[in-house]
Amino acid sequence: MVAFIGMLMLGGISPIEAAQTLISGSLGSPRAISGSLKETTPLLLAGLGVFFALRAGLFNIGIEGQFLLGGFASALVALAVPGPVGLLLAMVAGVVAGALWALPAGWIRAYRNGHEVITTIMLNSVAIALTDFLVAGPVRAANQTGATTATIPTSGRLQALLNSPPWNVNSGLLLGLLLCAAMAWWMKRRVAGYELQAVGANASAAEFAGINVAKVRMNAMLVSGGIGGLGGAIQTLAFEGRFYQGFSPGYGFDSLGVALLAGSNALLVVPMSLLFGVLSKGGTSLLILGVPKGLTNLVAGLVILISATIRYRKAAADA
């Protein structure tokens, strides 16, 4: 917070004015709130993906790549198959694409003992290059000048949950909330959920207790990637209606912050993604004040670093 105000002062902008703009731009009107909720949706889903892997002790930095592939695959399927059937198939395609993109990282972590962070960083870069190439060439819409797929007809998209202007909330958000509730229940009440978290807490103890650690890790990574892919699919089907170069403006990184701040409780992913959604929506209105877009990135990084420090301090005090 201090750093935030300091940077604003350095930039010659009144912090009070900036805070006002940020809040009115993200929460000040029905339209602004709808916009914040729209930003929250991908963060919630990608955040859940990261969170799931994190509980198994895996750091899925590759959520960005899985999100991209999921969004891309769902756009292709939704364009090929029209109507509600296409919508369902497109979501499945998103999940499968995301899970497949996480597969190498999961396999290398589980059976080859290579660090998942490094593999997922590398796979992110490959995902960006791959989708950039495909969308600029082979699957580019014929009548478009930019690198984008054709637009999915409205009947093949996720419908609005509430559409009475100025309010507009898409059902994608509801899907995210349901998934979050299901995950919280699964982790608390199911044996598999307990095993997953046992592996995350202490892998060698879990192994000793008879849990197949490699298998749990492999599956955790696949599910995490699948959720990331679903996030991309919902982004395509609910908001964008197409896939294009630069589809994700860094949702992958922000969702890492969401999952880290949520700690050990899946339900906390909701308020944290809301926080980042509000920051991101408000950051856009700060652009008009002349605050560069990098500032929100900077704040997100600081928040993560500081919260991690505080958590460590607490853990050290308890011990």
């Binding site: 940077m7 350095l10 930039g11 010659g12 750091f59 930095i61 190498p104 396999w107 290398i108 080859r112 003992n113 290579g114 660090h115 962070v117 490094i118 593999t119 960083i121 590398m122 796979l123 870069s125 490959v126 290059a129 791959l130 950039d132 190439f133 060439g137 990184f253 890492l256 880290l260 560069p292 877009k293 990098g294 500032l295 929100t296 990135n297 900077l298 704040v299 997100a300 990084g301 600081l302 993560i304 670093l305 991690a308 420090t309 460590y312 301090r313 853990a315 050290a316």
Partner: protein
């Protein structure tokens, strides 16, 4: 032919410098995915200071910025016990945000033309000297042995009377120094600072380090190979190779794909330092 060689060398220079930065850090036991951010910060600061105070101070300021970032990483990982990956990621985000902020705020929009910098040859010389110096340091001196010891098994190093924390502090200062040079080189090479100008070079350097099995010589060779790849990409962009047009995205993906395959253990045995990330 000569063209390709020169292009390869200039492409490989920042990679070698950044990979050596990663070598110092990871050999001492600190996971460092923040190379990208340190380079970017150094590039931005050196560009800004070069304009106002001349090239020599510009380079020094760039190095200082990268060293400061490195020290934050040291504090976060060694003093506050933050996960090395989380710290590295947030430092990358902070750099991306801060450089965007600083440059749009403090640079002079009316200014055009190149920023005055030290000649690129200076950095290329550094990129040749650094690996040689590191090989000698690690292979021939006591300090080098300590460095590797604290990265291979910090617990045993501690029992032998070393202080891994302190060794890592020095290692991370060296990391900052090399990242600073790598970042300043990018500005010297192009004559400008642009948003996110490192464009993944920090990650490619990390890839080279992994492919090289955390060994200096092999890592430098991997950097040269990656430099060669990107020069091929530039030279053959848009031309047909044997009737087949390979997209430039394919070339840019190759280093990353090679790293994933190497981590899967398909290219010889895994050589990750045993104490990486341990306290």
């Amino acid at each position: 032919m000569l063209n390709t060689v020169l292009l390869t060398l200039s492409m490989a220079t920042p990679l070698v410098l950044a990979a050596m930065a990663g070598y110092c850090s990871e050999r001492s036991g600190v996971i460092n995915i923040g190379l990208e951010g340190k380079m970017l910060m150094a590039a931005c600061v050196s560009a800004l200071v070069s304009v106002s105070h001349g090239p020599v101070l510009g380079v020094l300021a760039g190095i200082l910025a990268a060293v400061v970032m490195s020290l934050v990483h040291w504090l976060a990982t060694q003093r506050f016990g933050i996960d090395h990956v989380i710290s590295g990621m947030s430092l990358n985000a902070i750099s991306a945000g801060a450089t965007n902020f600083m440059f749009t705020r403090f640079s002079d929009p009316d200014r055009s033309g190149r920023i005055g910098t030290l000649p690129p040859l200076f950095y290329q010389a550094c990129a040749v000297i650094a690996p040689v110096a590191l090989i000698l340091y690690v292979g021939k001196t006591r300090g080098g042995l300590w460095l590797v010891a604290s990265g291979s098994d910090p617990e045993k190093a501690r029992l032998a009377g070393l202080q891994p924390d302190r060794i890592r502090l020095f290692a991370l200062v060296a990391t900052g120094l090399f990242c600073g040079l790598a970042g300043a080189y990018l500005v010297a090479d192009t004559g400008v600072f642009t948003d996110n100008m490192t464009a993944g070079r920090g990650y490619i350097a990390l890839a080279a380090l992994i492919l090289g099995g955390w060994r200096v010589g092999q890592t430098a060779l991997a950097c040269l190979a990656f430099g060669f790849l990107s020069s091929l990409n530039l030279l053959f962009q848009g031309t047909q190779l044997g009737g087949f047009n390979l997209p430039s995205e394919f070339w840019t993906s190759l280093p990353y794909l090679a790293t994933v395959i190497a981590l899967a253990g398909f290219l010889g045995k895994q050589r990750t330092p045993a104490g990486l990330g341990k306290t």
